[in-house]
Symmetry: D4
Subunit: 249 residues, 8 copies
Amino acid sequence: MEREALRSLLEQVRRGELDAEAALDRLAHLPFVDTPSARVDTHRALRHGLPEVVFGQGKTAEQIAEIAAALRAAGQPVLVTRIDAAAAPALLRALPQGEYDEGGRLFWLGPAEVAVVGKGTIAVVSAGTADLPVAREAIGVARRFGNKVEGLHDVGVAGIHRLLEAAPALRAARVVIAVAGMEGALPSVVGGLVDRPVIAVPTSVGYGASFGGLAALLGMLTSCASNVSVVNIDNGFGAAYVATLVNRL
Amino acid sequence: MEREALRSLLEQVRRGELDAEAALDRLAHLPFVDTPSARVDTHRALRHGLPEVVFGQGKTAEQIAEIAAALRAAGQPVLVTRIDAAAAPALLRALPQGEYDEGGRLFWLGPAEVAVVGKGTIAVVSAGTADLPVAREAIGVARRFGNKVEGLHDVGVAGIHRLLEAAPALRAARVVIAVAGMEGALPSVVGGLVDRPVIAVPTSVGYGASFGGLAALLGMLTSCASNVSVVNIDNGFGAAYVATLVNRL
Amino acid sequence: MEREALRSLLEQVRRGELDAEAALDRLAHLPFVDTPSARVDTHRALRHGLPEVVFGQGKTAEQIAEIAAALRAAGQPVLVTRIDAAAAPALLRALPQGEYDEGGRLFWLGPAEVAVVGKGTIAVVSAGTADLPVAREAIGVARRFGNKVEGLHDVGVAGIHRLLEAAPALRAARVVIAVAGMEGALPSVVGGLVDRPVIAVPTSVGYGASFGGLAALLGMLTSCASNVSVVNIDNGFGAAYVATLVNRL
Amino acid sequence: MEREALRSLLEQVRRGELDAEAALDRLAHLPFVDTPSARVDTHRALRHGLPEVVFGQGKTAEQIAEIAAALRAAGQPVLVTRIDAAAAPALLRALPQGEYDEGGRLFWLGPAEVAVVGKGTIAVVSAGTADLPVAREAIGVARRFGNKVEGLHDVGVAGIHRLLEAAPALRAARVVIAVAGMEGALPSVVGGLVDRPVIAVPTSVGYGASFGGLAALLGMLTSCASNVSVVNIDNGFGAAYVATLVNRL
Amino acid sequence: MEREALRSLLEQVRRGELDAEAALDRLAHLPFVDTPSARVDTHRALRHGLPEVVFGQGKTAEQIAEIAAALRAAGQPVLVTRIDAAAAPALLRALPQGEYDEGGRLFWLGPAEVAVVGKGTIAVVSAGTADLPVAREAIGVARRFGNKVEGLHDVGVAGIHRLLEAAPALRAARVVIAVAGMEGALPSVVGGLVDRPVIAVPTSVGYGASFGGLAALLGMLTSCASNVSVVNIDNGFGAAYVATLVNRL
Amino acid sequence: MEREALRSLLEQVRRGELDAEAALDRLAHLPFVDTPSARVDTHRALRHGLPEVVFGQGKTAEQIAEIAAALRAAGQPVLVTRIDAAAAPALLRALPQGEYDEGGRLFWLGPAEVAVVGKGTIAVVSAGTADLPVAREAIGVARRFGNKVEGLHDVGVAGIHRLLEAAPALRAARVVIAVAGMEGALPSVVGGLVDRPVIAVPTSVGYGASFGGLAALLGMLTSCASNVSVVNIDNGFGAAYVATLVNRL
Amino acid sequence: MEREALRSLLEQVRRGELDAEAALDRLAHLPFVDTPSARVDTHRALRHGLPEVVFGQGKTAEQIAEIAAALRAAGQPVLVTRIDAAAAPALLRALPQGEYDEGGRLFWLGPAEVAVVGKGTIAVVSAGTADLPVAREAIGVARRFGNKVEGLHDVGVAGIHRLLEAAPALRAARVVIAVAGMEGALPSVVGGLVDRPVIAVPTSVGYGASFGGLAALLGMLTSCASNVSVVNIDNGFGAAYVATLVNRL
Amino acid sequence: MEREALRSLLEQVRRGELDAEAALDRLAHLPFVDTPSARVDTHRALRHGLPEVVFGQGKTAEQIAEIAAALRAAGQPVLVTRIDAAAAPALLRALPQGEYDEGGRLFWLGPAEVAVVGKGTIAVVSAGTADLPVAREAIGVARRFGNKVEGLHDVGVAGIHRLLEAAPALRAARVVIAVAGMEGALPSVVGGLVDRPVIAVPTSVGYGASFGGLAALLGMLTSCASNVSVVNIDNGFGAAYVATLVNRL
């Protein structure tokens, strides 16, 4: 399907000349949908059981809206991560029915309530207030992926008693996401408190010898707790993705 | 319990003056057992449902045997990883009832058959022949932790057809461990083939710009597949540990 | 030839007092042309069989226009790479007969059609949408250097089936350029699919542990495919240059 | 084909009970041959037009001999690179008909003369005497791959006149391999002298700020000559491989 | 001398109530002059035979003017390096008798002609046009420090013949400053051409694997030419300083 | 005092021709004592109130014995750190009255009991068994410097309850030294438990992404606990030195 | 206490409906106070004897004011560090009774005079004028923490006589903070001059090979003076914190 | 001249059939002499005024002896640096008339006294005893290159008074070489004490955060003293080479 064909089909839908069902039929025969900005994989939901997620960083509101329209036309919900603060207002104007989670820099276009399919709870624990955006990305994504999520914030290792108070909530979870910048010690302590897989997310929070998250990343990779695995710096989305797969087992 | 007390108790067991059951009773009241080389945590099996694992690297056969005796006296099986090739013969002489897995550098002192408690299969896929020791460590540990394991070796990404032939076996697994050195691209391709969590293990295999496994590590952390999380370089044990926890869910 | 002399000669050409042929004669005696911003090598086309290429990054529209005028006066086509988005409109106003390729950040002043002198096709394959600017730079440069080019985009290794669909097109090429950021695994898989030289271009696309393209760079240098060589991060131009030389053999 | 079956087949060949042709027939039906140390790809020669090459580093003479026997049984020549000095005598005892190139750390088991199929000459130019092992690896591999090779040694950039004397030989080549440690400047100068692709090989030669070849590697990647692409540190084999593919075009 | 005292003294000079000679007398008794922004060392010229040089980067035009006034009041010439482009106009308005060298980002307040005290010529050779600002800083500083300077630009190693044409000028110098970014190979080649000390200045010019000048820096430190020593990245001033001391011997 | 003079003086002492007191008198007039291997500062004890400490790494038993003799002749106790295991027996043979602490790699030649001059206790807490040599170096040095020391070992952050059990002992200390390899998280947790200065010592214990202690070092420098300062990797001596100065305040 | 409850309580205080004492009572029962931006620990002053310090970097004036109000409502003084220059005016408008220390980027809301509880003087010595902001942060924080502070600026090691002139002041201190960027050599020289603990603060001042403070950081960690410990790059606050704890002993 | 011809010529000289003068004549017509291990440049002495220097590291005694014989046959003195301790005895047996400087790892075959042609003294100042081998290499090379050399050892910056005592000797020199490992601060302080060029040599002495000399290297490159330039880590030879050129001006 050429771009022009797609554009015309979308125009028809926007003008009401083609109803969603009919458009969906036509799109469903395609393995991919090409938009000017990206080739969007509309069959992914079927293949992986998870909606397509758009990485919003570096994309304009127009580009995101275009991709979202293609996905909606294919009957899919849309989740956009890492939305630049500057792009959010225009995006909401373009797609007013969407929900914008400023704290997690997420945009959602889909049913207000997502059915819970995860078998247990995912706990998302974070160290400092500056780690919150990454934690909130993980929380928002995990919720949109059909999980119950328990957020536990501001429980860094230098205030160990607050972390210990959170231990029951951590132990009640089926899988834990631990988010921390600076020295990134949180997953090691959390890993010792629970018998579940801990997915560690280093953040770029810090300065000087944190070297953009390198200190936290190395710390988590060399954790003395054996139940810890690690995703990329600031990759709250990836942690939620892995946790979702684990929580569906 | 002081070292001397422990030493005397072990002497009694060795001389047959104290049977295992009685010794176990006495040890069971202790949270830890102190040997000259290390404080061994005998309650861990109860707390985490997994046996204590001894990191053998840098330890002499004598030190390992001593720790193993303490664990056996506490009625626990013993799993030792990263045994130095030079230490293996002496270790087998000291503990002839143990099993030594040369390929995985593992030593096991416990029941010949471990009951399978993992709910599905763990697939361990590795890229090149030089990655085998790390893959075998993961396989051996996962088996001793009560999992069914499927090993798939020599399926690097530059020979993509062999990897595709392995896809059904990968898809049949509940969780996948992907082991690779050099550029570490295997987890990305595997991650695209399966809907399960993929635990990536970079190895120090390579030379030049591999910088001791750094290339593979960074490649896995920045994987374009979202279902990948990463453990430390050469950490086959850690991958098996996380996979075991996931496989018990 | 002093700057003033050059300036006056260019003035004459602009006012029509000197025709191109005569100006060319005079310039042809010079090994180099000095403009205020750079010494331009007008004999390069003869020596290397390729037009002079101007690296546009950090240059103002005025500086580029000045260099372009000198080259045109010498009868040479002009290719400018890495044009800053801000400089493009002014450059097009200054040289309205030029063509601007926004996607590849290229500017061309020369014949609309370049004669094809390359013996086969150069395939340019790229992984993600964010890698497109670098891929388009490679495509645009290779075309202006007289090659047939086949572009294959959005075929990352985590979606291996799309890459396999592209295999026939890759195998039909005489030389392949593989462009990828993040973990940079694409050249390894492509290298296993073709029997031709693969020129790998790491891109700075990514975040966190990608460290500005370092992850992709190291991954490509340690590729397990033996037919891969590598150019600098984001250096689509260099890849096209090498591929052009190979394609003329 | 199980290991045991392979072992028995090889035994038959060694005892003269099975002639090469018959064994070859049986092996030809297999896509791969499994030896205890590695899965050897016997069809590669057909697929890529190049013999299987064994990376000898870290392998014992026994392991190499075993793989070589499998390849010979499949009617293939055998080329082994990076042979540890300690392994060479035993390898020659095990396979006395082989040739050992000490300077290039290569072992060859095949016809004394390889037919030249490359269309032109590959020039291999190296900077210092300490770079010779890598240069000789490139030369030896390129010859066994059917190329005419011209070696030019000890022509570092600090003695520019010797390099200029080598310019005619460099210009006569169809593709150039430039090998250098320390600051790795040779490919930049060579790249300016020739209109052909230059494959740069950084070596780990140097001390201090050379950081195991990192200085040369970065220098070659940032070369101001546009016709340079780079392979891994000390990867003379890879350079010869790429040059062979280019020379066959 | 307190700041207030200095301020009042400067006020008197500005209002003409105190002539330069008298002010100088009073200042000459102080080892240092404190301005609000910095403690300025007015005796340095006597001690080292070179004027005080102000590092302009990060300083406002006001701060620079204030320091310059203090130095002028002490009878010293003023040389300011690394002036931010934004600060230059205000600085020239504040000190209209000064000279601003835009190419070298230098500001000079002192005699139009500086007596030549260096015994020979300092050659400053640079590789690419982007290296010019650093080369011009070196040239401007060396001239203000009383040297004859010969500038040779755009003579990178990939165009070796232009560099060889420059060889006589380089050999005529008493000390050579070689400025290059990217792979930083220029000092190695220059070092082989001359019998004089070569001071190498890596620049931050480049992208990707140049890592902000690191590639050039490492290349220069590992130069195969023995007569090369190195200063910090972009430190044209430091090179001129060292060259001046050498040229006075 | 020339080496020969020193040698003769030491000979006299060894032969009993000169008693310690007399030799001391003569040495006391010298600011330094030159031995063939090093210039030893005999006045340091007076100036800093601490004995001279010899860094034993890379020194032979003979060199250490020679320096020790010079110090003893000057009436000073001798403390040697980082003694190579191979050098210890010869050192004890040469100086049989010395004490060798194998765990801490320390050698002591002085009074069996050192007077306690520190005002409180220094707690030395370490994470894993592999960190013990560094912890023992800190303990041994601190004791010889006149401190009461409390050692707390094997209390890593992944077993937080054991660390919490150690909290009263940590809080009773006047200053704490925290020793840890791997991710180096111990000082952050300890820092939150005490109101005292915590001196963090990263160790080179670990593998892979620990990069020889870099992970622990960066982690400690970016600690979220504000009462932490850091010394070099494996520098148990330095930590004891700083703690001693603090404990004397 | 929910956010709304806190908001209403603060509203009451602002409107005068609730006096400070009563509000304090209610707040005192909470271990923490939640504001929209952060969970503020109001008991810290009691536990550690030091006021809560807010890290201002990346926070808006509104967020800081909100946190400050919560702390003031809890009867605590407020110290904010690293205030963005852009945020300062709005912060002063919002909290006009506060004091802003522009040089140290600090904001203080509390008693004009803080009682001196430190037993001696803390000397803060810095190398260059560009290191002043970090030195002033250390000075300002140390004063607000109840210490007498002696500031010694512009005493870099290349002007050793000025540093020696400062030696008496350094020796009079109970603990020294040494702040330096570039090569970071100051703590080594200072450490040799005093018998007290020296807390070294590397700064990000410098360019090129300073790599954002890495050069100074590594230099300080490898200092040949044994009485030096190190905090993170630019961490004047941390140095003051440690020095305060030491000065209270 | 082919190797065989050279071999025969050397044989003749050894057997006394050809006297040195005649052999020299024949060799003098060659630009280079090829030995099995290296191409030796016999004209260098004429071109650069300095003898050929052989880098001994990694060379066997036989290889060195062979090169030395070629140089002696050409009438040149021979200086070998970085001789492996293991190679020295065999080298002295092969060339008994040579002198071996163990401290500096140098071997010299030439006149016992070298004429002094340097105009002044070169001061070589080093920080710690472990830096001595590099300092002695610099001293030995500088002497053999015809300089008066003043060695000043064990004058690190943490003992500033000893360094100040050395100031007169440093100021009397025409050029200074400053050798230091660890934090590498010595050149900065020395640079402030003298008005001469200071050539800084970082050494690999240190551990942990010294990272093989990186800390010292970065420190010297970012020195706050402007008269400092830097050579590679441990490159005592290079420093002596540059200092010699400077001292001849």
